[in-house]
């Protein structure tokens, strides 16, 4: 997998610290770093940091001590780490420092489809854009070398299609760099006050200008045979790979001049000049923002700025195919269109979040439900998540809604924010402190499944294990919540819906007392993907009795994928394959038609 190829590259390049926060499509990088380190007997500190900013700064210090370091995240993670990111361009690094920011054009699994290359350009950091897993791995070593040569962070920007593609790659033994940690003090640089910053900025500009002339990072040219004089195609990232395959399909492979740009920022100087001198028409293919196009500043260029290419969305082969045909004057091949709809994602059968959402919704029919980022965003389908913004935002938004209604003078609805355990550690703590401090009144439910489930079960700080599988100091949600000044804290297993509902009512009453504030309920049930935890829970044989009236309450309000309507009898039946026997739906049917019997 692309992410594993990157991880292998990190180990082979002699990197000694890798830090990350999980997020699709970057999540598989860090576990693979840990696995390859163990496999090859290399010593490395690999950690799941509490968030991306922390990951960035931890890795940065290792680089300041002269050692190679890598930090990986998804593109929106770089927003969280933007503060250290921008500053580190000015101050520079010592040991090779690589940022992997995985973009998600489409988007498939993200809140935005922002382009990290644009962010790199903003920060004045060079960025490499691989078109395949193999290339991504090769670029890791090059990135470290470039970073050390110029003492500058270097970004590697894979996209979802590269991260999740698989390909065979050649392996080399890890390089062992004998570099003991040695931090050399230099306050003018490492603490740069404004008086030094201007000079550092000048140095940064100078570095970028020189990198734009590095021959090793110049675009790769595949010349055409002269069939299309004065015409050229420029592509970077996986769009280059799509374009290559499509040209082959059209019988145009090797007939038109094609450039693969491996470093979209800073764009190679000579390359820009050459394009200007030799071509009349150029097509620029890149995801997702016009990074190369803006640097080319040429009216010969067709791309996003000329609306030749859609301004948003993934450049899939279908889209690129149409653009190529038009640009090269070929007849359009009629494309098969994807049908709308499809099967939408839903929480797993037996997921504790579903039970918690159901309880929240039933307890407060007129409530406002600010949500957060994770599997539980899917609670939206259940009508128990009204907002989804960015990590930790649900808590601050709950406070904001409270203040809005409180100041407005009308009736204040019940406000219930739901946040996952991992997200709470990531960005929820400052939001909670702030809400408590400003006397907001709402209920915050921490959906604690003891893992980072959406991205593949990475351990949270409560687990007491690190990314290498070694013991770590556990941190407890309850301790943190209390330390934030919360006076009402209860815990329960959301499977017991009636119990959770009465806790929520109690919490609501607390919020409305004169001395009330933020009430926190921790709804704790392990993720269904955690097989060991599942083996420990009681399993029930479920059956739907003749009392089922086909009212659809369980289907519409609870939406367990194992509950299906038998179109013939108009009654609900249990899909024996998908049902995990959690027994929760027995609390859901208003007529008591779903019965649970303990399976031995």
């Amino acid at each position: 997998m692309g992410n594993e190829a990157i991880a292998r590259g990190i180990i082979e390049a002699g990197c000694t610290l890798a830090a990350s926060y999980p997020g699709t499509p970057a999540s598989e990088i860090l576990p693979a770093v840990a696995a390859f380190a163990q496999e090859t007997g290399v010593s490395i500190h690999a950690e799941w940091s509490v968030n991306e900013k922390v990951a960035y700064e931890t890795a940065l210090a290792n680089s300041m001590a002269g050692r190679r370091s890598a930090v990986s995240m998804k593109q929106v993670g770089l927003n969280v780490a933007s503060d250290p990111f921008l500053r580190s361009a000015y101050l520079g690094v010592k040991g090779g420092f690589m940022i992997i920011s995985a973009d998600d054009p489409g988007p498939h699994s993200s809140q935005t489809e922002q382009d990290s290359r644009f962010f790199a350009m903003f920060a004045k950091v060079p960025v490499l854009d691989p078109s395949s897993p193999r290339e991504a791995k090769d670029m890791v070593g090059k990135a470290f070398e470039l970073s050390e040569k110029y003492e500058l962070p270097v970004m590697l920007r894979p996209t979802t299609r590269v991260c999740h593609a698989r390909q065979t790659v050649a392996l080399s033994p890890p390089e062992i760099l004998d570099r003991p940690a040695r931090f050399e003090k230099n306050p003018g640089r490492w603490c740069a006050t404004p008086q030094y910053v201007r000079e550092l900025h000048r140095q940064l500009n100078d570095k970028i200008a020189r990198i734009a002339m590095e021959p090793d990072f110049a675009p790769v040219f595949t010349p055409g045979d002269g069939s299309f004089p004065g015409v050229g195609i420029i592509a970077s990232g996986v769009v280059f790979a799509h374009a290559w395959d499509l040209l082959e399909d059209l019988g145009l492979g090797g007939r038109v001049d094609l450039y693969q740009v491996t470093m979209p920022y800073p764009l190679n100087r000579d390359f820009i000049r050459r394009l200007e001198a030799q071509y009349q028409r150029l097509l620029v293919l890149e995801e997702t923002y016009p990074v190369m196009e803006l640097q080319l500043k040429s009216d010969k260029v067709q791309g996003r700025l000329t609306q030749t290419i859609p301004g948003e969305g993934e450049l899939t082969p279908e889209v690129v195919g149409r653009i190529l045909e038009k640009f090269l004057g070929r007849a359009e091949t009629p494309g098969a269109a994807p049908p709308g709809g499809g099967v939408r994602p839903t929480l797993c059968a037996g997921c504790g979040h579903r039970a918690a959402f159901y309880a929240i919704k039933e307890a407060f029919p007129g409530g406002i439900f600010p949500g957060d980022i994770g599997c539980y965003t899917l609670g939206m389908n259940l009508g128990a998540v009204d907002t989804c913004h960015c990590m930790g935002a649900g808590i601050s938004q709950a406070a904001g809604f409270y203040h809005a209604y409180a100041a407005g003078g009308g009736e204040i609805p019940a406000i219930v924010a739901a946040i996952g355990d991992s997200t709470f550690f990531h960005a929820g703590v400052p939001a909670l402190m702030n809400a408590v401090m400003h006397r907001a009144r709402f209920i915050m439910v921490i959906l604690d499944n003891a893992t980072t489930a959406m991205t593949g079960l990475q351990p949270t700080p409560e687990a007491g294990v690190n990314a290498m599988g070694q013991p770590a100091q556990p941190l407890y949600l309850a301790d943190l919540v209390r330390a934030c000044g919360v006076k009402f804290l209860r815990e329960c297993d959301p499977y017991d819906i009636p119990a959770l509902m009465s806790l929520l009512q109690e919490a609501h009453r607390y919020c409305r007392t004169p001395e009330g504030g933020v009430a926190v309920v921790i709804a704790r049930h392990p993720c269904m993907l955690d097989k060991k935890a599942y083996e420990r829970q009681p399993v029930y044989e479920m059956c739907v009795t003749e009392d089922c009236t086909g009212c659809r309450h369980c289907l519409d309000e609870f939406e367990c994928p194992a509950l299906i309507l038998n179109e013939g009898t108009e009654q609900v039946v249990i899909d024996g394959v998908r049902c995990v026997g959690c027994g929760v739906c027995s609390h859901v049917c208003p007529g008591g038609a779903i019965e649970a019997r303990r399976r031995e």
């Binding site: 799509h242 959406m454 394959v577």
Partner: protein
């Protein structure tokens, strides 16, 4: 040799396992191969698709209307993903319900053999391997199954694979 295959199913059904097996088989035969997978949000029960491209391709995605072969782990995702197939290309579906496609009752076979539900996918793979048209033969796939499946699933996977293979040779 160039072949493009899609594998479609519901999240968590096991599309990734089949994708990897096909890719391993191609690599074992010394063929170039690149695959793409669905991860993240859509894995939670939504329709997922994997793609396997065997031959000198650079990109991991198959354009609509270009796949030579489709493996569907359920008939539920047929409407969503069939448009990836070339006109006239075969769709192989793991379902008891007949239709305008080749089908093998993977779930039924698995149940009859007393195997867990995921074994249905291997039955589908066996069925496809038994029909001409795949870039590799049944033996190559069987070898990969032997080499690459974790020991505790090996017998079960081989059993299901062979059951699927038998269905196709019986037709």
């Amino acid at each position: 040799m160039k072949q493009q295959i899609i594998i479609s199913g519901l999240g968590g059904q096991g599309a990734l396992t089949l994708t990897r097996l096909l890719a391993e088989a191609a690599a074992a035969l010394g063929l170039e191969v690149i695959t793409s997978e669905t991860h993240g949000m859509a894995q939670r029960g939504g329709a997922v698709i994997s793609m396997v491209k065997v031959g000198p391709f650079r990109g991991p995605l198959i354009p609509a209307g270009s796949a030579d072969l489709g493996l569907f782990l359920t008939d539920k995702t047929l409407p969503a993903h069939r448009f990836y197939l070339k006109p006239g290309a075969a769709a192989f579906v793991s379902t008891a319900a007949p239709g305008d496609y080749f089908h093998v009752d993977g779930p039924g076979l698995a149940a009859r053999l007393g195997l867990p539900a995921v074994a249905a996918n291997l039955a589908l793979l066996g069925y496809v391997a038994g029909r001409a048209g795949l870039f590799c033969g049944a033996e190559a796939l069987e070898q990969v199954l032997r080499d690459k499946t974790p020991e505790r699933f090996r017998d079960m996977n081989l059993q299901a694979f062979k059951a699927g293979l038998e269905v196709s040779s019986g037709q």
